[in-house]
Amino acid sequence: LSDPAQLRVREFVDAGARMIELPIREEDLLRVVEDVARIEAVAKFLMQFELDQNIQPAPAFEP
């Protein structure tokens, strides 16, 4: 983990994992960072789509 982009995600992972009390094994760290980076990329793509402020989160139990 030397790439600055990965280090940035690692900081997030370390802080988040501490916050929810989820220990991460050393051997998992790189893959977790990659997986979080993948979700982040997908989220950024999604959030480029501008939603009307009045649209509320979907209720869980309605198709």
Partner: protein, 465 residues
């Protein structure tokens, strides 16, 4: 009939049992023998329930002797994905973590419903660990092989369910679908698979993955069998908090109605990849058979898929948080890191995805005001090889495991009912097409599928192994 039982439909078996040309006990013995013969090659069964199956068969035969109604699926063997509760054994959900879980106190509601219809449970079926995957290459229990080509994947996560039916071991099985876990394996294995409307069938006793997306559904080799199983499982279940209060709306009586009055269109744009020749041909064959030329563009399916991905990751991670803390070493490492990443997803991403879901639901409702059924490919390609790392998608090599659901995720994201039909293409690997309808309009899907089957545009022959 005994020799042909592997090729027989559930309907044919039930008819033969009811007219006493064969007993349920003989049917059951035959199914158990096929498991013994074929499972070493396929690895689709995780547990065989011999004693239970024999007892259930005896009960059906006794009902027939007493001239009681044994149900529409009398004596029909079926098996379930290894995440349905089966009374007396722990529910593994494709994991080893749950091997020491307490045995289920009762059957899942869906199993009870099929039992009440006369069907006989013969075993549980392989899957991706905790249903997180599209290939059924299970780290703990091994890969399930595709009956049409043993070197290839059965698809996932309900791969064992699709393979058992495609191989003629059982004419019916049950799986679950979160983002495509019924439709992808149904496409790869060349069988019919139904992902019903979210909330239509009870999930009580099924080990969930991402609760706001999960549905259960049947696999079969004929439309009539699929419809009969679906009808048998319909009905409100207070034990499942998302079970619809709507009454059952049977579909088995819809199969011969034809498609007159139905407005059908082909999904365009995102759903057409010029390099996905097999998928394009499959959709074209179905459109031709239905004489459909209209094209409809869904509202930003790529972002719908993105939102489904985020919600799945977050819900899955949250669901397994306790075990990720206490016994991380028992997870498949691939599953573990993805679940951890999902557990860390910030609320800003998850809530945006949920807001997008609201928007997308409204936009899809507008489409369904002018179209009844949408045709789209189920998978971008036929079955991949076991262990295959990448597939082609829009001109690039992309990871196979993550992208086999490109066509299924944007659809199930808002709970729509979808029926995978296996396109008839003799001497080629199977591939499926999705028939998609508005919430609770499964009847339209069965009308279309019934016509396609009658015209031989779709079929699910038993694989030669």
């Amino acid at each position: 009939m005994t020799a042909a039982l592997g090729n027989a439909s559930a309907f044919e078996i039930a008819a033969a049992v009811k007219e006493r040309s064969i007993s349920a006990a003989e049917v059951t013995r035959s199914a158990l023998a096929r498991i013994s013969a074929l499972n070493p090659k396929l690895n689709c069964f995780t547990r065989v329930l011999t004693e239970r199956a024999e007892a259930e068969a005896h009960a059906i035969d006794r009902k027939i002797t007493l001239r009681q109604d044994p149900g529409p699926l009398a004596g029909v063997p079926f098996a379930v994905k290894d995440l349905f509760d089966v009374r007396g054994i722990p529910t593994l959900a494709g994991s080893t973590i749950r091997a020491n879980a307490p045995a289920a106190q009762q059957d899942a509601t869906a199993i009870t419903s099929l039992n009440q219809a006369g069907a006989i449970l013969v075993g549980t079926l392989n899957m991706d660990e905790f249903a997180y995957g599209f290939v059924t290459e299970n780290h703990h229990y091994g890969p399930t092989h595709n009956p049409h080509d043993l070197q290839r994947s059965a698809g996932g996560s309900s791969g064992g369910s699709a393979a058992a039916v495609a191989a003629g071991i059982t004419p019916l099985s049950l799986g679950t679908d979160t983002n495509g876990s019924i439709r992808v394996p149904a496409s790869f294995c060349g069988v019919f698979g139904l992902k019903p409307t979210y909330g239509r069938l009870s999930r009580e006793g099924a080990f969930l993955f991402a609760a706001s997306l999960d549905t259960i559904g049947p696999f079969a080799r004929t439309v009539k069998d699929l419809a009969t199983a679906f009808d048998a499982m319909q009905g409100h279940d207070a034990a499942d908090p998302v079970s619809t209060a709507r009454g059952p709306e049977p579909v088995a009586n819809q199969l011969d109605r034809g498609i007159q009055g139905l407005r059908i269109a082909i999904a365009g744009g995102y759903f057409v990849d010029v390099e996905a020749a097999d998928a394009n041909h499959a959709v074209a064959a179905i459109a031709r058979a239905l004489n459909v030329t209209d094209v409809v563009d869904l509202p930003d399916p790529a972002r719908a898929r993105a939102a489904a991905f985020i919600i799945t990751a977050a819900e899955g991670g949250h669901h397994h948080l306790s075990d990720l803390r206490s016994q991380p070493g028992k997870f498949d490492p691939n599953t573990r890191t993805r679940l951890i990443a999902g557990a860390l997803a910030p609320s800003a991403w998850v809530l945006y995805a949920q807001r997008f879901r609201s928007w997308y639901r409204l936009e899809m409702a507008k489409i369904f005001a002018r179209v009844d059924v949408i045709i789209a490919p189920s998978t971008p390609c036929p079955a991949v090889h076991i262990g295959q790392k990448t597939i082609r998608w829009h001109g690039a090599e992309v990871p196979a495991r993550a992208n086999l659901g490109v066509f299924t995720q944007p659809v199930s994201f808002v709970g729509l009912p979808v029926l995978n039909v296996p396109v008839a293409r003799p001497d080629k690997l199977p591939i499926g097409v999705q028939l998609i309808a508005a919430p609770y309009n499964e009847a339209a899907l069965f009308r279309v599928a019934g016509l396609l089957e009658a015209n031989r545009a779709v079929s699910a022959p038993v694989a030669s192994i």
